[in-house]
Amino acid sequence: MTKHFEKVETLVSNIPDSSKIALAPDYSGCPMEAIRKLIKRGVTSLHIIGVPSVGFQGDMLIGAGCVKTIETAAVTIGEHGLAPRFTSAIKNGTINIIDGTCPAIHAGLQAAQKGIPFMPVRGIIGSDLSKHRLDWIEASNPFSESEEPLILVKAITPDITLIHVPLADSNGNVWVGVRREMMVMAHASKKTLVTYEKLFDGNLLSEESMAPGTIPSLYIDGLALAENGAWPVGLFGNYPPDENHLEIYMDMAKTDEGFKEYINEYVFEPKAAE
């Protein structure tokens, strides 16, 4: 059964330390309010998976010392520059990095979604990425008459998918529209926890125009309302990123001390989002 939580804090209390947790990139559904609550709680040793990359939420979790391992095709904060806390953590060797490439991460999740052990993927051969990936295997295409190498990517089954979406209904169905990577994430994960912007008046599955972009409550374990829950990153179709605030983050997160000040101000004693 899908549980509705009154508070985002209670929703994220369902994420144990050391969880393998799938997160979406900045242009998709970023549960920033939930990330702040996770940091506030002091979650540790997370294995985060960028699907297929992560932005500010990954950088913040890393800066706050919540991450042991990051598995991703990239950590990017777009126009703002290099992700400061990620870059520093790699330099200081404080996190493990499992470098991947976007389609391999999608394929791993698709394998888990289908309940199969692996998925073949084109490309990759000859890249240094595969030298460091014990969960990727070079095999031969069994349907090809001539010898043709292919990479097999092991299924990726996250413990938890944590996302922020524009709409949810009282039945626990959540709407992601065309950002269907979140649907694959939910299908592939053992549990999915969601924050949502607005409550949809009615049942998303009975509206023909909404149902195709809806993840049914079957896959959703917990929900909590979080208005402006993707701030300062934007939410597709709802609001753009708060560029001024992201610049403040970039400026403060340049150093460890500055980042600590940032989380003191915005995570531990949060100011209301403007």
Partner: protein, 243 residues
């Protein structure tokens, strides 16, 4: 309107010309100049050029989430794409991961994104890196995110087509797996390019000057394109065009 052509405008125009006749151009992460070039090619296109820009809601035709770009590419439905690199070498190998002994890199870049896939599958991959210095254009990359060429048994319909920098345009010779200098941007010289390039490349006996954008093209870049790109790259657009 000022007729002083900014170098970004020059690059947008140069890349856009390489997209003539394409029917579907995709643009990946952190690519404001290639993105503008794709939008310019679309504005100039006599046919129906489609642009799919990552991070854009207005200039994006995908409805199947993050996988669709890759699925589409694997089926041959994308004609051109752009890649960059913290390091690029003379064999068109690109490094998006970092400098030093992986995984203990001294300098870390964001990561490989979809390069280890799209570089193999999209027929015309245009490498774009503004900075043209020996630290970027190196003899051999420290980490291969994606190789410039592959053995024959690897399924590889795609690969590098050209490398565009702040100083010049190189074309990639697939047979030789080497770059050939194609044109030099106005204000730059062959000596300077040789000095600032860490890898060896072919030099034809006559090398042309890169053609700057016409005044009509400039007008289009500063109007329609500045406006369209500002949705995805607001900082870029406001810095360059004051939009």
């Amino acid at each position: 309107m000022s007729e002083v052509i900014k170098h970004e405008e020059m690059l947008i125009s140069v890349i856009s010309e390489m997209l003539n006749g394409m029917s579907h151009v995709a643009v990946g992460a952190s690519s404001p100049i290639p993105g503008s070039a794709a939008l310019l090619a679309r504005a100039n296109s006599l046919t129906d050029l489609r642009v799919s820009m990552l991070g854009s809601e207005e200039h994006n035709i995908f409805t199947n989430g993050g996988t669709e770009l890759f699925d589409c590419a694997a089926q041959g439905r994308i004609d051109a794409f752009f890649l960059g690199g913290g390091q690029i070498d003379g064999g068109a190998n690109i490094n998006l991961v970092g400098i030093g002994d992986y995984p203990d890199t001294k300098v870390r870049f964001p990561g490989s994104f979809g390069s280890a896939y799209l570089y193999y599958l999209v027929p015309r991959v245009i490498l774009f890196r503004e900075e043209h210095t020996p630290r970027v254009l190196v003899p051999k990359v420290d980490f291969i995110s994606a190789p410039g060429s592959s053995p024959e048994n690897v399924n590889r319909p795609g690969g590098p087509y050209a490398l565009v920098t702040e100083r010049c345009v190189f074309k990639f010779d697939k047979k030789k797996a080497r770059f050939r200098l194609e044109s030099i941007h106005p204000g730059h010289s062959l000596e300077e390019i040789v000095e600032m390039t860490g890898f060896d490349f072919d030099k034809p006996s006559t090398i042309s000057e890169t053609k700057p954008p016409s005044s009509d093209t400039l007008k289009l870049i500063r109007g329609k394109i500045a406006d369209e790109i500002s949705e995805t790259y607001p900082a870029f657009s406001s810095k360059l065009f004051g939009a």
